[in-house]
Amino acid sequence: MLMALLVFGQTAVAGYYLLWVLPYHGGTLLELGLIFLFVLLYAWIAVGFWTAVWGLLIRLMGGDRYSLLKRHTSAELEATPLARTAIILPIYHEPVRWTLNGVKAVYKDVEAQGALDHFQFYIISDSRNADVWLEEQAAWHDLITELNAEGRIFYRRRPVNLNFKSGNVADFLRRWGRRHKYMVVLDADSLLSGRTLVQMVRLMEREPQVGILQTNPSIINGQSLFARIQQFANRFYSPLFSTGLAAIQMGDAAFWGHNAILRIEPFMKHCGLRKLPGPGLFNGPIMSHDFVEAAYMGRAGYEIWLEPGLGESYEESPPTLSDELARDNRWAKGNLQHLWIMLTEPGLRFAHRMAFLNGIMAYSASLLWLAFLILTTAEAAQMTLSPIDYFPEGHQGLFPLWPEWRPEWALGLAVSTLVLLFLPKFLAILDSVIHRTTRSFGGFFRLVCSVMLEIVVSVLLAPIRMLAHSRFVVTALLNLSLKWAGQNRTEEMSWRDGLVAQLPAMIIASSWTAFAWSLDTLFFIWSLPVALPLILSAPTSVILSRRALGLWLLDKQLLLIPEEIQPSPLLERAREYRLLEEDNHRLTPFQQAVLIPRLNRIHQAFARDHKNPARRRHLTKLKNRVLVDGPDALSSAELVQVARDKNVMQNLHNRAWKAPADSYWGKCIQQLNRQVVAK
């Protein structure tokens, strides 16, 4: 209630100021539109501001006394027995060895806690490309051999990819849900320490009304400048925001899809996702499943908590702006779909409907901002190019409407907006000073420099994101098709790619600012904070993608986070395992699966023995084509059929090794020979 009062009260005051800043004081339709958009955007920013302020106050008071962790002493939690918990890792075309090395780090950390008997790991793959999932199978086999983890780490690839990630998890639950009381969901880039996992299970055992317990993941392993900026911003600002958010939401928090623990029984009973029955975007499987599952869990009477006090929870940032925007494209569509659920689904708690609105606004706000800029331009053009209209459209009085100018009020309004946007960052510095954590961010001076650098970059990125998100929202509402693809976590952006990606934004911004210049000098200056970053968007996105620059700043101890100064054992393990393993085999995973005897036997164990005569004839034809011309002779789907048949894989293995030297497989064998000799 207090939050609503603060946000709406402040917004009302700002709206009033704008009313009197505008020349006709809202007397025209154009100005009414401007005020409407401004009020929405201002309220949106005010929510974030007051969340951060509330978070600071709570931290100053020693933490949220209603949080789950505060309800139990350490001794109580230590005495709580563990329950059978599944740790599931849904993957889709991720870098295989890198991902499984993360699993290995988590596994070893759980082992160090002495808690392995209570956890089982499930790598559940939706990968379609045969080379990828063959590599997954081989890597899984290597992992359990190395760790002696048979019966503790499992692998399943789903042959039919229904309903994206939520369908993958649902498939896991249908097969093995009853084996476990809880499940912890990890993404491919997620890490959760053994200590935190154990603590999460114990909290769930102590709090039977909790359906989902969400940690607040910190971003780590940022190497490119872009990733390091995101990492720093997340790590430095999120304690304030997450504390405030957790205190406001309490048992009506959201589920973010990963780095969380879920109570399986109510999840299976109440959180099944049906396809949406509406038109266009609102038809088909739900893409962003996490918010919906939390809402359904809340509807069933369970609580969903965000617990920022559960540390050692990590994820990674996309390495470049393009990768982030590709991810945002998916999320925008998924969040906009929630509009249907927010408006039509019965029985949902108000807080969860607001969570949907929050997610929708996360991307729609960009479109509103763009609309605001367009209307402002129209207003400026009208004031400059048209004679003063004393009886504008919409004005119904008998007396003329005199346009008035109040530049000092406009300045005040602009300053208040900037305060809302940037003061939380300085509150975070204050919080760090009070809690004596500045040293873990490189010391006070470097911390301030890091914050300034982050502000500069965020100002450069904001208009770029605005334009991109606006496009995503429009294409989502028009229901243009979307492919769900794995994220790029490693590559830099070339100048060519940067230019191609950002050229439209650069052209739009240049045209707009040239038009602004032709209208009015003041308006031109006003447009620069938005136009300049857009004009510079190509070099910005390329430079931000550079690892060398990010690592140079790390060397100067800028944008430092505590995990880089004193990494936890989990992070050290993950880094060590990922550095050691470099897969640069000359053969593709399919070629290795055919040729290398050990791998061939492993893949035969995964494959099935298809006995249907028609199928056998079909597979024989495919096998013969592969024998002569290699896997490229088949389509992706055909290659999958081949790799899934035990007899074909065995036969291919036997025949390939007998192939003449100048044949396809003879040449592959020569490559294998060079690999073996090089070792």
Binding site: A83, R84, Q120, Y122, H141, I144, T145, E150, G151, F154, Y155, R156, L173, R174, R175, W176, G177, R178, R179, H180, K181, P208, Q209, I264, E265, P266, M268, K269, A300, G301, Y302, L595, I596, P597, R598, R601, I602, A605, F606, N654, W657, K658, P660, A661, I669, L672, N673, V676
Partner: protein, 96 residues
Amino acid sequence: MTEMAFQDVFNRVYLYLIASGTDMTGERFRALLQLIDDAITKASREGGAVSVLEIAMDMVPGRFTVPPEKNMEVHPPLKRGSIGYRPVSNAQPVVK
């Protein structure tokens, strides 16, 4: 049979054994040479109907013991749970 073809067969079988994880001791080298010799003899007897390479590769499993690969449990047995779910441990009452 040409000397070059003999070299190819030897290389092929040798590579297969290395790729299989076989530790090539002196004794195993002699066994490999014997295998090639036997393959050549058999190919001559059959009048070249089957290549020396094919005969040699077919002989490998009978002459060399490849390190076995243990069949691992890929996933646990299915435990259908979508209907009539009951948790493995003592059921907790549903809190409303």
